[in-house]
Symmetry: C2
Subunit: 492 residues, 2 copies
């Protein structure tokens, strides 16, 4: 199988688009801006879902499901939120088609089936969920509400890219309600940490934790916490956000509770989400010119075994031994595939699994049978070694752990090499143009300066890092005083 | 906690509506015809999903995800399918809202953001999926395609009821493509059997397997296989369908493959689905005037333990023992909850778990501590017994199995008592009015007679049972010859 993927150094964006399709992750559909997530891509998403779902449940959340549609009057109740999403909404106006009288076999929208009120296809579910919470919350005993939803949402983006920006995408959205500000803030921070742990430990992607500036905040939030990752081309990608909503939605939807003294108060809210966008981050953090590189914790197939044989007899002997190994690996919860298709050459298979990013490949031929060995190849480093078949199960267990760890370490090293502190705007622009990556610079704290820098350089403030050191300085653009550096980058 | 649910004998429909809400399964939302699936209801759905997903994967299927929207021209490609769903489609016509110039803070549809082509919110995904399969299928080597999707769909029903008929619902839809008619038919039958096994073994609902008449067939299918269940009020409920699509969609979307001789042929298709409607069947098969009755295989909480105590000391002693039991049960994969809330009386808790359908309730008080016993209550039979704490884990394992089996047996007995063979139309109408249930009667095989019977009695042909015996007879309505009886009922 020939890969024929553009090299990253030639055209990173083209490499990404080609790889996503050729590795069978996703493809464009016949519907503008909407993608088809193919079985191999979806299998990775399922692994991500399973792990996140486990982490949500361990932190006390339950899943539920709320409607796809939001009536316009409900949608506009929280003004900032409505304004933030109004420009990219799919709107349902009719509920019936009828036969086209002028064109047999064709259908037209039935003008007699116009909805009294338009329905917005949810771009996010705060409105529909808070209108429900109004019914669910009466007393402090009903709080906290800790609910998550796995769903599809629609944002009518004009320029779309597979996984990174699609008109429809899949995500989870947590929506919680609390009796106190402190508790809601703690929840938003907790989920920020859950996302950090997931992205770092499972996706092997290092992130910088921070808060968004007011400009970049979620529409309707008082505070947005974000995790920011760095892609190989030096652009940042927002990997997950957790919002402290204050009492904004509680006020918009009149959600009050009687506290222990019987006094009515508005509840405090959070919401938090990650989406299929993470699939794009996974590809752009680890993969190379040969194809995908998947971290073992998310690989649908962790180990593949390819037999190398000339005779049916050899294959039979190999199969017997490999089937035994497969059983042992499955018992250790390792997902393994024995590819004994006889119509394809080993070289073709090697290429295919390289393209698909399978972390570990074993090959076994007549010589290995004789010597009691396997050839073990790592996808991430493209290195090979000969390993004795005795105890190879535990060798593989260790190797998968090593790969997971080293993939993170390499991404972290790359990321850290691409954080640059600058003190002048000249430097700022130069680093952005030549090296890219994250730039730590002083900022005067105004939206005006933020906007100007964005207009001039396309770089945005990704976040105010949570662990930044207090450091008096002057804004890189205006020279006005600043209390610490913020993180700039061009971003996806 | 007072239940205040209407009795089934008073008003079955009201009982159902109230129970679904009071047992925290679902409720109506602020969006016409759309429901909110509440956490407890969703937890049951998650258990159903997990089991079905396992069964789909064991039969070789993979999950994928296709777009929510279908462009009108794509939707109308398969004419029968399009016609079948045209009357109940939500249609997206615009992609942007703007500020209402006459009404500050309000939004209106932006007339400048009209879509060139309307988008249908999928009522089912054959069109979008077959338009994709066209790209995926070239040669016999690409077949079979065995794909499933978990998704939401929208059918704009005018009269809706929680779970049974909602404008939006959740479901899975399998879509497969095959090289031969035989293989596609075998697939449709296999999935028919998977649904039968799931509904009988996990939901404890007996079903009759059959084929739909042409009138009742899925729009675009050559054959629809169905499983039909009987509810307590004598009405039938279609619990799952599996369709043999012939080459209809392959022809509509021009999906061809080169066979082994290199000749181009249209592929053969199937589709199959079950939905959140099954939640309604679960409620209406097993539950009673006291609330839900859940089969152990789908109960989010299988066992609840309620302490009965007067002093803190007693509670401490009880807790120590119960915590030990909980650990043992969890090890046996039994989901168990120890309800040690001190602000609620045991009687209140008993009521709550009865309403929620928890299969087994243990109570333990000072006397039980003394005697080394638990009081064990079954939800399905409302019976209690005193059981020694020694070896109670295995007693519970057995009891859960017994409950699962006996719930099925009781439903089967009820169902079998409600199958009546009739030979005259007078009898037909009388049984339908008095006893209800399934009626086995001869039918002349014409859609005309089927329609007339439906108009006169509201009964439809639920299916032509697969295991019916060959039996010459005369149509119950026209007296014309018939080769065997078909299954009639009023249905949900």
């Amino acid at each position: 199988m020939s890969k024929n993927i553009t090299k990253r150094s030639e055209d990173y964006s083209k490499w990404y688009n080609e790889l996503v399709v050729k590795a069978d992750l996703a493809e464009n559909s016949g519907v503008r801006g909407c993608m088809v997530i193919k079985p191999y891509g979806y299998a990775i998403w399922e692994k991500m879902q399973a792990q996140l779902d486990k982490m949500f449940k361990e932190t006390g959340h339950k899943n539920a499901y709320f409607p796809l549609f939001v009536p316009k009057s409900m949608f506009e109740a929280e003004e900032k939120n409505a304004e933030g999403f109004a420009k990219e909404c799919a709107i349902v106006t009719h509920y019936r088609l009828k036969n086209d009288p002028d064109n047999k076999g064709k259908l037209i929208v039935d003008p007699n089936a116009k909805l009294e009120e338009e329905l917005i296809v949810r771009p996010t579910s705060e409105a529909i969920i808070w209108s429900t919470y109004k019914k669910w919350v009466n007393s402090y005993r009903d709080l906290p509400l800790l609910i998550n939803q796995w769903a599809n949402v629609v944002r009518w983006e004009m320029r779309t890219r597979l996984f990174l920006r699609t008109a429809e995408f899949l995500w989870q959205e947590g929506h919680t309600a609390h009796a106190t500000k402190e508790e809601a803030l703690a929840e938003a921070k907790q989920m920020h940490q859950v996302y950090t742990d997931f992205v770092q430990d499972f996706m092997a992607i290092p992130v910088i934790k921070g808060a968004k500036t007011e400009t970049e905040r979620f529409a309707g939030a008082d505070e947005t916490f974000t995790i920011e990752a760095l892609m190989q081309d030096g652009k940042a990608l927002q990997a997950g956000t957790s919002h402290f909503l204050g009492q904004n939605f509680a006020k918009a939807f009149d959600v009050k509770f009687a506290n222990q003294e019987g006094k009515l108060e508005h509840v405090w809210g959070t919401s938090w989400g990650v989406s299929t966008r993470l699939m794009g981050a996974l590809v752009m953090t680890h993969s190379d010119d040969n194809g995908l590189v998947l971290p073992p914790n998310l690989a649908p197939i962790q180990v593949v075994v390819v037999p190398i044989h000339k005779t049916d007899e050899q294959l039979a002997e190999i199969s017997e031994q490999v089937n035994d190994l497969v059983k042992k690996l499955l018992k250790l919860n390792i997902s393994v595939k024995f590819d004994d298709r006889t119509n394809l050459k080993p070289g073709f298979k090697f290429n295919e699994y390289e393209l698909k990013g399978v972390p570990v490949r074993l090959a076994i031929g007549p010589k290995d049978l004789e010597n009691g060995t396997y050839e073990v190849a790592r996808r991430d480093t493209l290195t090979k070694e000969i390993v004795s078949k005795e105890g190879i199960e535990m060798f593989i267990v260790d190797l998968l752990e090593t790969i997971q760890k080293e993939m993170f370490d390499r991404s972290l090293a790359f990321r850290d090499e691409h954080i640059t502190e600058v003190d002048t705007f000249e430097e700022f622009k130069e680093v952005l143009e030549t090296k890219g990556g994250f730039i730590l610079a002083h900022w005067d704290g105004t939206a005006e300066t933020e906007d100007k820098i964005k207009d001039l350089t396309k770089a945005t403030i990704r976040c105010i890092p949570l662990d930044r050191k207090e450091e008096a300085g002057s804004c890189v653009f205006t020279g006005k005083p600043s209390e610490g550096r913020v993180l700039f980058a061009k971003a996806y």
